[in-house]
Amino acid sequence: MPSLLLGASIFVLLTVALGLFAILRRSADVDRLMAVQLLGTGGVAILLLLAVASETPPIVDVAVMLALFAAFAAVAFVRDASGASSEAKGE
């Protein structure tokens, strides 16, 4: 079972890599925001698979951390990509 889960994590890693390529070759800022969201979700999936495959429960904590900070970074990105920040306009 561990090798099967590892295989699944490789598959997810490859699809995430492909997805990142798809997102990052576009030029719009808004498209790039999706990269963080995609890696947040994909990274969580990879880490959960690794945690169970290697029987190391603390890796689940890393997955939570990744989820929290991917969301956090995405909020900051949207703020600046949409140009809606009050300071940037005020000055």
Binding site: L39, F69, A73
Partner: protein, 313 residues
């Protein structure tokens, strides 16, 4: 080739590709997005290197917090005349050669490890039970190299002082110029109300679990700082003016407690930063709790930047 090494090769290739495009991409905004992706990928690499403590720190600081910091700077520099001349092709080729040399040197060092690999791990494991801790990394941070950790807190405070002292005179003691959403967005407010409770629980859990399992004051403090910034960015709460007494009190509370316990060590345990036998674990947990709060405030204020608006009273 085993299945685990396939994973590692794919991960390394992805990290290098993202790293290279961080440097080569034209727009600064795109580079910052790449950098956050790079930080999140590195934390997976740390998991593969069996360093879960470091993975937690990298995901939090390398990914999220540094990203926020750089983004604020990018957004602001749009109005400024950015950039100078890129260096010419010959110089760039020379740089390329130099970097290749550095890489080759490091790679040779990596490919030829010493015959007997120096390690302090057995020493750590031998002495760890005395401290009552279960996490060797926490043991190193708070027992064996406690002076480093104490000085690191001082470095954080010094950096914050440095950032604050870059404020224009009229803004001294005022509010940091953290960019916030101009219009209140109901979706964002929902997120800013939903995520912080989860994050605060997780941050406290990180600090608590750090004595036994991967985690600790740094990771917990960073989560708390991020949640605080999220609430501020969403416009639910204003960033505190840096002149506030409670803010400054929180900033120094952790280091002062650490220092006090360290000095008490001279009296009760014969050495600076030594813990009296049997009391090590409760003292360390107390220091970690205070440090978590101080780190949270320090990191949050560092990310918020120097004060820009004078305090309104």
């Amino acid at each position: 080739m085993s299945i685990a090494s396939v994973f590692d090769v794919a991960l390394v290739a992805l990290i290098l590709a993202i790293g290279a495009s961080t440097i080569l991409v034209r727009k600064a905004f795109a580079a910052v997005v790449m950098f956050v992706v790079y930080g999140l990928l590195l934390s997976i690499a740390w998991v593969r290197l069996h360093a879960v403590d470091v993975a937690l720190t990298e995901a939090a600081i390398g990914g999220g917090m540094t990203g926020l910091l750089l983004l604020g700077a990018v957004a602001r520099s749009r109005s400024v005349n950015v950039g100078g001349p890129w260096i010419g092709r010959p110089a760039r080729l020379a740089t390329c050669a130099l970097c290749a040399l550095v890489v080759a040197g490091l790679a040779i060092a990596m490919l030829h490890p010493p015959e007997v690999i120096p390690t302090l791990a057995p020493t750590v494991m031998e002495s760890l039970p005395q401290s009552g801790l279960g996490n060797p990394v926490a043991g190193v941070l708070f027992v064996f190299r406690a002076l480093d950790t104490l000085l690191e807190k001082v470095v954080l405070l010094l950096a914050l002082l440095g950032v604050w002292s870059l404020a224009p005179d009229r803004a001294w003691g005022g509010m940091p110029g953290l960019h916030v959403y101009a219009r209140s967005d109901p979706t964002l407010i929902f997120l800013a109300q939903l995520l912080p409770p989860v994050g605060i629980v997780f941050g406290i859990y990180m600090c608590w679990v750090g004595a036994k399992d991967p985690g600790g004051a740094f990771q917990g403090g960073t989560v708390l700082a991020a949640m605080w910034l999220l609430v501020i960015v969403a416009g639910l709460q204003k960033a505190p003016a840096i002149g506030r007494l409670w803010l400054r009190g929180l900033l120094v509370a952790g280091p002062v407690l650490f220092l006090a316990i360290g000095l008490a060590g001279w009296v009760f345990a014969d050495a600076f930063l030594a813990y009296p036998a049997g009391y090590a674990k409760p003292l360390i947990v107390a220091v970690e709790a205070a440090l978590t709060l101080s780190i949270a405030v320090a990191l949050g204020m560092l990310a918020a930047g120097p004060p820009e608006r004078a305090q309104q009273q």
